[in-house]
């Protein structure tokens, strides 16, 4: 790779960071919490992209890994008095462990079978959470608002070291986007590592990859593990943002939304996945602003989604790649 390309990448990243830092200055306090939600979806979609983008396997069950992350954080904060910040990484690791445990056997399955098996996991998740109510608080879930460990609650103000004060929503925004940027750079690193090349080789041609010495099972499982880690972190942040967890917060629709976000952002892209996350947060609201009549918002949402996929089958990322392909190298040659 030429030095020019590196410079372009670095400039792009710097611009991304600058925009992220600047946004809260331009929007209301509440909107910060909304943009934090975009960051949370962005992390989860980045994770899904590691699985689907590299192995070609569609997971319709990533909401389940978000739930595992969210409940890890909630239980550690509420029952073990831990600080929310430290639980986020743990939540990611617990979800990653679950991802490995599920990924090991599940990757025997081919595309559509895996998709539907993970769909089953997503459907079962809220019911299983409800069953173990001694641990999870049953259908009412766990309230974190009054827990000691959540930074900035119940006052809704966060005092940073040095005395500077932030509203809880701004804090949430910066927390989420800091983590999102780190995980974004990690995802980028994976892409350009040996691992990333092996994974792409598997996606493009499993047998050829195996013939050239890539150990399929371990690589695929690793993709599942990494992917679940991202989902777990997103879940932990969601629990903090909503200062509570409930089984009802993780219906199968949540898993489906992540797949939609990935498709809109563009499979195999990285930064454009933000567009997919923003789509998930804003489109339902816009649809409702147009009309609240029964069913109409869903009609608008469905029509927009279908048209978008027909016009941009590779999502926003595909569009940007087409526009920018002479300038930057394509992330994937085959996509």
């Amino acid at each position: 790779m030429t030095a020019l390309r590196y410079a372009l990448r670095a400039a792009g990243l710097a611009l991304f960071v600058a925009v992220v830092v600047y946004v809260p200055f331009r929007i209301s306090d509440f909107r910060s919490s909304e943009f934090a939600l975009i960051g949370i979806y962005f992390i989860a979609i980045l994770g899904l992209n590691i699985l689907t983008g590299y192995t070609g396997a569609i997971s319709l069950g990533h909401g389940a890994f978000m739930a595992i992350g969210a409940y890890t954080t909630a239980i550690l904060v509420a029952d073990h008095g831990m600080r929310d910040l430290w639980t986020i990484a743990i939540a990611g690791l617990v979800a990653a462990a679950a991802g490995t445990a599920f990924g090991l056997p599940a990757l025997r399955l081919s595309g559509p079978y895996l998709a539907l098996a993970t769909f089953g996991i997503a459907v079962a998740t809220p019911i299983v959470i409800k069953k173990f109510d001694g641990f999870t608080g049953g259908s009412g879930g766990i309230n974190l608002f009054e827990a000691e460990g959540i930074t900035g609650l119940p006052e809704f103000v966060v005092t940073l070291p040095g005395g500077h004060q932030l509203s809880f929503n701004d804090w949430l925004y910066y927390l989420t986007w800091t983590i999102a940027l780190v995980l974004f750079v990690v995802a980028w690193g994976i892409h350009h590592s040996r691992l990333g090349r092996s994974l792409r080789a598997i996606r493009d041609n499993e047998l050829a990859a195996a013939a050239s010495g890539v150990w399929l099972a371990s690589h695929k499982t690793l993709a599942f593990t990494l992917s679940a880690f991202y989902a777990g972190v997103a879940g932990a942040l969601l629990a903090i943002s909503a200062f509570s967890v409930q089984p009802g917060a993780f219906p199968v629709e949540r898993s489906i939304a992540l797949v939609v976000g990935l498709a809109v952002g563009g499979l195999g892209s990285l930064a454009p996945l933000v567009a997919g996350a923003a789509f998930l947060v804003f489109l339902p609201q816009w649809a409702q602003d147009i009309s609240k009549a029964p069913g109409v918002p869903s009609v608008i949402y469905g029509v927009v989604l279908i048209l978008l996929m027909m016009v941009l089958p590779m999502g926003v990322g595909g569009l940007l790649r087409r526009i920018g392909s002479p300038l930057t190298s394509r992330l994937y040659r085959r996509s």
Binding site: G56, Y113, L116, F119, A124, I256, V259, P294, G302
Partner: protein, 293 residues
């Protein structure tokens, strides 16, 4: 013993419906390689069309077959206008489009029919038979008979007619079919049309067993139809039928006779299917696809 049999009988009855919808999923998967998330909502929409016709005074069987015809056209149109456009895109894009269709159809039904609970006429006698303490409803026998008849008709269509042969060829090997003069893309649309008809049959039959229906009544059924189709093998019509009935029975027996699972019926059934899949990754009747470089 009568208790167990009663659970099995009611499991077979619900399984028959899962089987019909699973069959529709299999048809689309075989013809276009798509897992159709909108299948349940297509069936729901057909059910509402039938209700509307009946509400306007159309006689039952006229409304029934008219609905099937409308559904067929609807299925073909969805393939031609939407699915066909994205058919060359990656699997994720196509799946997302069917999710969009799901949301769109659900909203459209809520908008047109106002989201109220509706009742649909039961075409079968409402009597029940008592066989040694096990109660069997004529309605359930009717549903199973119709399901079997539909499978038979489909089998004859695909095995014995020229169009059916062409459709199978188009799905298996589009390139060489095209060279043999098969209009491949219309054959794929045919698959969607037939799947829509199957869904319509499923919806019209199941709505009366639930007492009432609204725009959401097919969502849970779709979950079990997915389970059935995966269990039987996504490309196997026989598998869909066996899978549907097996899922129906398993749900009832697991929940009833293992106390720990009484409120975990659904997860337990899904777990069981997952375990079976690990032994047979292409389902019970699915074909192992040889991997080639």
């Amino acid at each position: 013993m009568a208790d167990v049999l009663q659970q099995v009988v009611s499991g077979i009855a619900s399984g028959g419906v899962y089987a019909l919808l699973a069959l529709a999923l299999v048809l689309i998967y075989r013809s276009t390689g798509v897992v159709n998330f909108a299948q349940g909502e297509m069936a729901m929409f057909s059910t509402f069309i039938c209700w509307e016709l009946l509400d306007r005074g159309v006689p039952y069987w006229v409304a029934f077959f008219l609905t099937l015809a409308i559904s067929f056209v609807g299925g073909v149109l969805i393939e031609r206008l939407v699915i066909h456009v994205v058919s060359r895109a990656q699997a994720l894009t196509v799946v997302t489009v069917t999710i969009g269709l799901l949301i769109l159809l659900n909203g459209a039904a809520a908008w047109i029919w106002k989201g109220e609970q509706r009742t649909l006429e039961n075409p079968f006698p409402s009597r029940t038979f008592d066989v040694g303490g096990v109660v069997i409803a004529a309605q359930d026998i009717g549903i199973i008979a119709v399901s079997l008849a539909v499978v038979a008709v489909l089998w004859v269509f695909f095995q014995k007619t020229r169009v059916g042969l062409a459709a199978r060829a188009a799905a298996l090997n589009p390139e060489s079919s095209r060279l043999h003069g098969v209009r491949v893309s219309w054959m794929l649309a045919l698959g969607w049309g037939l799947a829509a008809v199957l869904g319509a049959v499923a919806g019209i039959l199941v709505a009366p067993t639930q007492g009432s229906f609204d725009q959401n009544f097919m969502l849970p059924i779709l979950i079990f139809a997915f389970a059935a189709a995966v269990l039987g093998g996504l490309d196997s019509p026989i598998g869909a039928v066996v899978g549907g009935v097996a899922v129906g029975i398993a749900l009832n027996l697991i929940g009833t006779y293992i106390d720990f699972f009484s409120d975990l019926r659904l997860p337990a059934a899904l777990l069981l299917i997952l375990l079976i899949l690990l032994l047979r990754p292409n389902g019970l009747f699915g074909r192992q696809i040889a991997r080639r470089v």
